[in-house]
Structures are given as structure tokens and as C-alpha cells.
Subunit: 339 residues, 2 copies
DNA sequence: TTGTAGGCGTTATCAG
DNA sequence: CTGATAACGCCTACAA
């Protein structure tokens, strides 16, 4: 392995292959513009020297970084992990690198991170959900940074999105539990401010209630951050309501696990004394007991498709097209049949 | 907000502040070399234009990218999430960006990703654990890429590391359970090939057995990938051994949760019929029932410290110094007192 | 099909 | 303390 101290450059390759740097560059970026013969020679030289293009130089000259930025609300639980991993793998296939940062569900932090990623020259951005200060979308437009939204689908939004219809999926889940005889429904939601997914899941439950002759105003959801502790205490609060609900629907699996813990603290059996549902179908959902009835989200598919779409947006310079994925109800043991 | 179509450059700022580009550059990179007066003028211009340095250009000229690469085995469960998040936050404070990729616990994939990150000009690399092909360390050395290992501490290794002593921590846990009267111990480990953490945890249990007069050879651990399903089936296998162990120690919490599920499938009560332990103290560990006795790892501290260390290695061009963090036994409900 | 040469936005070395 | 100016490594018209 004759690896020298300093990395070989285009010049070195050109010299070794007895061609100009332009030709070497073409071989790499647009091989069909080079004759087979010289291409072979160049490729041999590249191999021999172990040449890899210098990304900074390439970025500067081409005005592209082959980097895509993604800002997710959190890496700390599994909500986004599977999808993002798939996103990254697919991106890698296309020669792009993913730059991830997490905002901790804070709008201000997200705004700052968007600017950082743009300053770093991200060729495109993946954002979670549609809800954010319109000024951000203006900024992105002015900077000409293609943007795709995931984990949410909204055909009416300006920004293209790949995700599922949170409202419809949650409605389906709610109708399922209503069909099981539950008429007194409570809900623990994530903070719905600046979070369309949380908001739409609430709406979904209300839709179902309305459709089945229940009064949506009685839902009165409690909103808490997405973590186990807050889920548990919200659950305890709900249990002191009169009349006591027969089911607590949660904005996601993490909250539902919290609710489960709250129930244990109160000495309530699930689902005999109280039913609980989640959303997301994280691995967590199958692991707790009882296993959670929840909504399964096609994480990997979403990640892969988002990657393909965003690469297309960049390379074909065209506006992204939205894609609606199916989210399905998964029934497990945490919901009882009533009566 | 007079934001123009194309981002402002150093030249624009220099023009606006009536100084040379060199001065503007100094203001940004080494402010104390510029007089207060001009500095004020330059900063005003920067603000007014909303200037942000172009990273690609800066990287090329400075031969640094302000990017640090990290390769973790997986993002799919929470094992590395907390630590990496802390790592990233701290890095951000120092003006660096983190590039993460995950290898899926595959050595070949890791090798390839290392090369990608180096090609992208990462100023330094964070790797998980020490075990890997020595050729990789050679390569990194030749390329002059500072490298730090985390999640493992080994003072004898060439590469500096920040982590905990997996062996000692696991030994402490094993001694705790032995003190509770367990003499028939079984173990579900992660794949120990190319994974010093898994390997050392096995050794830790054996150390304890030896110290307490049990025969380490009877441990005979089963090795499986770190996921719930494999943990569950390994557990079932173990339960058919004669004599049946009174406790199953697992290589991490994910496997322990699998074991818990395996126990449920077999109709065994934990800890009455069988005790189980984990490692890592993920949120998961407190959420399952019974809650897991496990080893708590200082994830955030490790991430933060690793960030500070790696920045120092880059900026002071000095070899990193290893750091041993404390991992402590956390007793919960999944281990019974025997007799 | 191939080569020439200018430029991308910074940093850093020298003078002044 | 400040200003020219030469790199940095690659891409891409434009020419040949």
C-alpha cells in the first residue's frame, strides 16, 4: 500500500494517466464523456494512487456539498431512529452524506440549526412536520435550499411531504376502541403547539367521537412533553377525573408507556381496570406488558422514500412531490372489550 | 431583512467595512489581532449583511473542516443515543459539526465508513470500542486523523479512550447477585467477536464467579445480536439447560428485555422463578416490569467529555488522554434473594 | 474527445 | 495593526 503522507490530488492522477485534470474530472463526474481507452487509463491511475476527491474543493467548485441536513426533534428515544437510519442508508447509496442534528422539540433551536446547516452548504434539508414559523420557509426559499418534510403528510402545504396522515390514522384507532365499547375517552397528547403531528392526532380522536355520536369536547386532552415521566403523571391526573375514563389514548408510545407506569403506581390493571393506546409502534410497544395497541408507522419505507425524493429534488432541480404512506392500527392487549 | 439572492462573501463584508478581506478574516478567526475600532466596523458589516462564512472555502483554505465523524454500531435503539446527543451538543459549543453514521455492528461497514469520513475531511473521528482490524489504526495514523474511542476504557490500548471499565462494572454486578445467593448463573451476551465491550462483560462475570468460588466454565454464555427477539429466544434456550440457572445475566438492557419476554412466553415469573439483569440503564430498564437491575453508564458525561477531549486533540495537536468514568450497579426488582 | 485556464471563497504568508 | 496576494483542489465553459 504505497500511501503517501499527503493525499493524492487530481493533478497527481492526471500526471499518472498522462491526461489533463479536466479529463480526470470528467471520468469521475460524467464518465460517458470520455473515451473508453482513456477512461481505463485514468481509472487505473485512480486505483493505483488511492485517489479520493477532496470534498471541500469539490463542494466549492461545484457549489454543491453532497450533504443533506436533517433536523429531528430528538435522538433520545426511538421515535425517529429507524426512519432516519433508513434515510441515511439510502442517501449513502446515492453518494450523499447525512448531517443530523436534533432540536429537542424547541422551535428556536430548530431555527438556529437550519441556519447552521444552510451555512454549511447542505444541498437540501429534511424537516419533521409542517408546523413552523413561516419566516423559515421564506428563508429557505430565498436561499434556494430544497426542503422536504417527513413524518407528516399534508397535500395542502407548500412544502412537499412524505409521511402519513396522522389525523386519519388516529381516527381509525379511536374508532376501533369505540367499537369495543369505550365511550369515556381521555387523551394524553404531546405539546400540540408547533407540532402538527400532535395536533392532528387529537383531531383524529375527535373526528371519531363525532362520527360515533360522542361529544368531542369531553376529550379535553392533557398536553405534556413526550417522555415517560410526564406520561405517567398525566395519567394519574386523568384518573382523578369524574367520571373516570375507561380508556386513555396517548399521542405516542412513549407517553403510553408512561401511562402504563402510572397505572401500575395506582395499582390499576391494564386493560381490566383501564385501557391504554399508543402511536408509532416502537419496539417498546411490544415489550411492555400488556403489549400496546397502537398505530404502526412505516418508518423505514418513509426514510427510504424521503431519501430518493430529496435526491431527485436536488438533481433534477424540480419541486418535490408529496407521498402518503399508510399507517395501520395494530391491536394488542392493552385495550379491553367493554361490557 | 435585506437578504439577497446569493449569499454575501468576505469580499462584500470587506467592501462594506472599508477594509481588506484579510482583516475580515482575522476578525472572525483571531479577533485580538485587530484593533477595537476596525473590529467594530467589521462586525457591524457582518451583521448588516448577514454574512456567514462559506464552509467549503474555509475548509479548503484552512485544511480543516470543523467536522468530526462518529461511527456508532446502531442508532436503532437507545444505547448510544444519549451519549452521542451530548457529544454533539458539546461539539456544537466549540464550533464543530458532527457527522454520524452507523455500521450495524458490521466491521466491514465500519471500515468503509471510516474511509468515507476521512475522505470528507473529518478533523477527527470518534469510534466505539477498541476492537478492530489493526490496519484501520494504521490507516488513520498515516492519514493523520486524530481518533478517540468511547464506550470503553483501556489504558493499555494505543488509541486514547473515554469510557468505563466494562469488565469491572460487570464484575460488580455479578458479585451483587452472587451475594444474593445465586450460584447457578447463565448469560446472554452480545457477539463478542470484534466487540470488546461484550467480551469484557463476559470476563467480568467470570471474574466474580472465580472470586466467589464458582466455576467460570459453567457460565457458557450464548452470544446473539443485540435485539429483543434474539434475547428472547436465547433465554428460552437457556431455560432448558440442566440444572436450570437461577439467574440470567444479559450483555445489555435490550437483551434483558428480550429475556423478560422469553420468560413471559414460558410462563415464568420474574424474579420469583428466574432473575434477570441488564447493562446500560436505558430508559427501557425502568419501564419494563419488573424493572431491571442493571449497570448505569454515565452516557451524557461520556459524550461531553469525549467532545472536549477530541477538540483538544485537534486544536492542541496533542495525543488524547484516556479517561475512566464510573459505571455503577443499580438494583431494582428483577433479581430475587435466593433462600 | 481532450486540453486550457479562470474562478469558487477562504486562509495565511509577507511586506508595509 | 493592516493590506496584497498566492495558494487550496476541483469544476466547467471555451477552444482546439
Amino acid at each position: 500500500m504505497p500511501e503517501t503522507e499527503t493525499a493524492p490530488t487530481l493533478d497527481d492522477v492526471a500526471l499518472a494517466a498522462r491526461v489533463s485534470t479536466a479529463t480526470v474530472s470528467r471520468c469521475i463526474n460524467d464518465p460517458k464523456k470520455v473515451s473508453q481507452k482513456t477512461r481505463d487509463r485514468v481509472e487505473a491511475a485512480i486505483d493505483k494512487l488511492g485517489y479520493t476527491p477532496n470534498f471541500a474543493a469539490r463542494s466549492m467548485a461545484a457549489k454543491r456539498t453532497f450533504t443533506i441536513g436533517a433536523i429531528i426533534p430528538t435522538m433520545e428515544n426511538a421515535i425517529f431512529a429507524r426512519g432516519i437510519q433508513a434515510f441515511q442508508e439510502e442517501l449513502y447509496q446515492h453518494g450523499y452524506t447525512l448531517l443530523i442534528s436534533s432540536s429537542g422539540y424547541k422551535a428556536e433551536a430548530e431555527k438556529e440549526q437550519i441556519k447552521t446547516l444552510v451555512a454549511r452548504g447542505a444541498d437540501a434539508l429534511l424537516l419533521i412536520g409542517h408546523d413552523r414559523d413561516p419566516a423559515i420557509y421564506d428563508y429557505l426559499e430565498r436561499q434556494r435550499v430544497p426542503t422536504l418534510v417527513a413524518w407528516s403528510y399534508d397535500e395542502t402545504a407548500q412544502t412537499p411531504s412524505i409521511g402519513f396522515d396522522n389525523r386519519t390514522a388516529m381516527r381509525a384507532l379511536a374508532e376501533t376502541v369505540i367499537a369495543k365499547g369505550h365511550t369515556s375517552i381521555a387523551m394524553i397528547s404531546g405539546i400540540s403547539q408547533q407540532n402538527d403531528r400532535a395536533r392532528l392526532r387529537i383531531e383524529g380522536v375527535k373526528d371519531a367521537m363525532l362520527a360515533r355520536g360522542l361529544d368531542p369536547d369531553t376529550l379535553d386532552p392533557i398536553e405534556v412533553p413526550y417522555n415517560v415521566n410526564d406520561g405517567a403523571s398525566a395519567f394519574v391526573t386523568l384518573m382523578s377525573r369524574h367520571p373516570r375514563p375507561s380508556i386513555v389514548m396517548c399521542g405516542n408510545d412513549v407517553l403510553a408507556v408512561g401511562a402504563l407506569r402510572g397505572a401500575a403506581e395506582l395499582g390499576l390493571n391494564v386493560p381490566e381496570d383501564i385501557s391504554i393506546t399508543g402511536y408509532d409502534d416502537l419496539e417498546l410497544a411490544q415489550v411492555v406488558s400488556p403489549a400496546l395497541t397502537t398505530v404502526r408507522v412505516p418508518h423505514r419505507e418513509m426514510g427510504r422514500n424521503a431519501a430518493c425524493e430529496i435526491v431527485d429534488m436536488i438533481e433534477k432541480k424540480r419541486k418535490g412531490v408529496s407521498q402518503k404512506l399508510k399507517a395501520t392500527v395494530v391491536e394488542r392487549a392493552s385495550v379491553a372489550q367493554v361490557q
